[in-house]
Symmetry: C2
Subunit: 373 residues, 2 copies
């Protein structure tokens, strides 16, 4: 069996490891945190920075395939490993496009992929000159993650909140729903999508708060969303998973918001609700194996389990027993030692064939299960 | 979170570990083989014999709950740990009944649980005196496992095959099907069954060869099988999982064949086909948590992946890519380094809503995927 190098050892890595165990795939994980979720369960775990050239280059030496669970990694090292014959999936040249939201956005435009209007800005001055473009989202080109690096600018009064580094202004969309499609592509060009899901974001923290799968949209919208995801993956030529987040506008248009070249928060429910999970699919894709059946066998919802506001310290879980007593409720804990306000500490998948009952269980479990210190 | 000690580090342990990761349960596994399936992925792994008093007693010292993945363990050490206040689930007194097939059989009789007629035998002489009881299965009281310790005696001519140690003669049943129900019970007395499954045994090696879930039986038979499983678990007072293997006779009677006080080969498909897997259910049961929903969301079949006859040495897998290209086929490899003829090296779960297509895929994958050296 091939040896898979994984840059990152967080929760996405943990779930990937669990899936890798099914096929006895030897995974070696790299993370700067010796207490990262992958640390205790990875067949091999290396403490080090995935941003450091030497660390990443050395780490990849004895791997057959190298992949990621976070896109903010040292691309130069990956390029060198690739040039020396290692398989690096997703490819560094694809990561380069996606890592910088400015290049990513330009890519959509150049490839006729539907996305909202935007303006690239290099300074506050550039933003000031485009006041008439507001309301817009100001997005940092590089380094944003999990809700950081995105700032809404409603009017001129918000200018002080704008980023001073190279960023972009993206027209605020009057959308009906935010939807997402995860698509997988292997090196033989085989492509498969997961069913479209519907994301409800936290109004303040810009994190996925709830997710419903499948999305309550028409078959036509579902098909169109999948088609856009497939085209994006094919045009990027990505090998691996691509999570495509989209806006469904009030007049029925679908616009790409942004993409992630990896397993994604909008696919965690697939572990419990689809025949093949996004984690297994990512492994199949990067290892050159046939892709699995993505059909959903159950209706599902997913809620992120965030650290309670006001608590920092060693994580404790309140209401676990009560949550587990609700039929169809499956908490998943990332195993992070320390909780902080709004830190992603886990997620909860709820399965239920009745949509109303599903929604009621989601509300119930959200009130019940808390991460405190 | 509680620390769970696990006696054994084989494939059942591996799948239990994967499930434990969902709730970030810290598992420490004990196995004599430093290359056991659990070795590389257990948060803590101790090399040592689960049959040795001192090893087991020491191993249990820092655990909150101790459980098993193999029933052939040192009971004296478990009793001492229990007496000293540790939770040991399943309880050593239950293991004692089940470890010895003679006591187990007597238990069914004493508790009016349906089982085939039997005679306890201490020597070949005892067997010779009961020639008119043949055809029967001669089962070793202690130490049998995975098809060993069971011998069919069709007539007097087979006497030389009989066991010389304390054993029993069990009337050979003219059965229609072999069915099984896995039942879970937690310390609060909550009990839940998985749907009845149908097992097809290998004619020579006495191992589960195929399994279909759910069993093709009437609702009445299903309900009756579940009722027997629940009664058996309740009368044993077991905390944990109990796999109840039964015969469905040609005249519609259900008779208990034997039980296993743990996760079982007849429940591997639950990982892919039921909302809660047998492994998660075992964890919930022994940790005193509410039991999960056992509903099957998909029809499934399971085939054991045995080492090919004629091959001994470092395991290689033939036909993996072709197998994965069949929709709904999910191989699971145990990660055993060395293959031997008929050694359990993995299993394959197949899911398909159409029973004919399911059977066709099972045949196809059985021809395709091979473990050689």
């Amino acid at each position: 069996m091939q040896k898979l190098g994984l840059l990152g050892g967080g929760q996405l890595g943990k779930m990937l490891l669990q899936a890798a165990m099914d096929l006895d795939i030897h995974v070696k994980s790299l993370d700067p945190d010796p207490d990262a979720p992958c640390a205790k369960i990875a067949p091999e775990f290396v403490v080090g920075s995935f941003l450091d050239f030497d660390t990443v280059y050395q780490f990849g030496q004895d791997c057959d395939v190298i992949t990621i669970e976070i896109e903010n990694v040292n691309l130069e090292a990956l390029k060198k490993l690739q040039a020396e014959g290692k398989k690096v999936f997703p490819q560094p040249e694809v990561l380069e496009i996606i890592q910088d939201k400015r290049i990513q956005k330009q890519f959509y435009q150049d490839n006729n992929l539907p996305t909202s209007d935007f303006i690239l800005t290099d300074s506050i001055e550039d933003i000031k000159q485009n006041i008439d473009f507001l309301p817009a989202f100001n997005k940092l080109g590089k380094g944003g993650y999990d809700g950081r690096g995105v700032q809404k600018l409603s009017s001129e009064a918000d200018i002080s909140l704008a980023f001073t580094e190279p960023s972009l202004l993206e027209k605020a969309i009057d959308f009906d729903k935010e939807i997402a499609v995860i698509v997988a592509r292997n090196e033989h060009g085989e492509i498969k999508t997961f069913p479209t899901v519907e994301c409800v974001f936290h109004p303040v923290h810009n994190l996925v708060e709830y997710l419903f799968a499948p999305a309550e949209v028409s078959t036509q919208i579902h098909d169109e969303a999948c088609k856009i995801a497939i085209e994006t993956a094919a045009k990027l030529g990505i090998v691996g998973l691509l999570a495509v987040e989209m806006f469904l506008t009030k007049d029925g248009q679908i616009l790409i918001n942004e993409v992630a070249p990896r397993t994604h928060n909008s696919g965690h429910h697939t572990i419990r609700a689809n025949h093949t999970s996004q984690f297994e699919q990512h492994l199949r894709a990067v290892l050159g194996l046939p892709l699995g059946d993505t059909t959903a066998h159950s209706k599902a919802a997913m809620v992120n389990l965030l650290g309670e506001d006001g608590f920092t310290g060693e994580a404790k879980y309140q209401g676990m027993e009560e949550s587990l007593s609700i039929s169809g409720v499956y908490p998943f804990l990332y195993g992070k030692k320390i909780t902080k306000p709004f830190r992603k500490m886990g997620h909860i998948t709820v399965v239920d064939e009745d949509l109303e009952s599903l929604k009621a269980k989601v509300s119930k479990v959200k009130e019940t299960l808390k991460v405190v210190a």
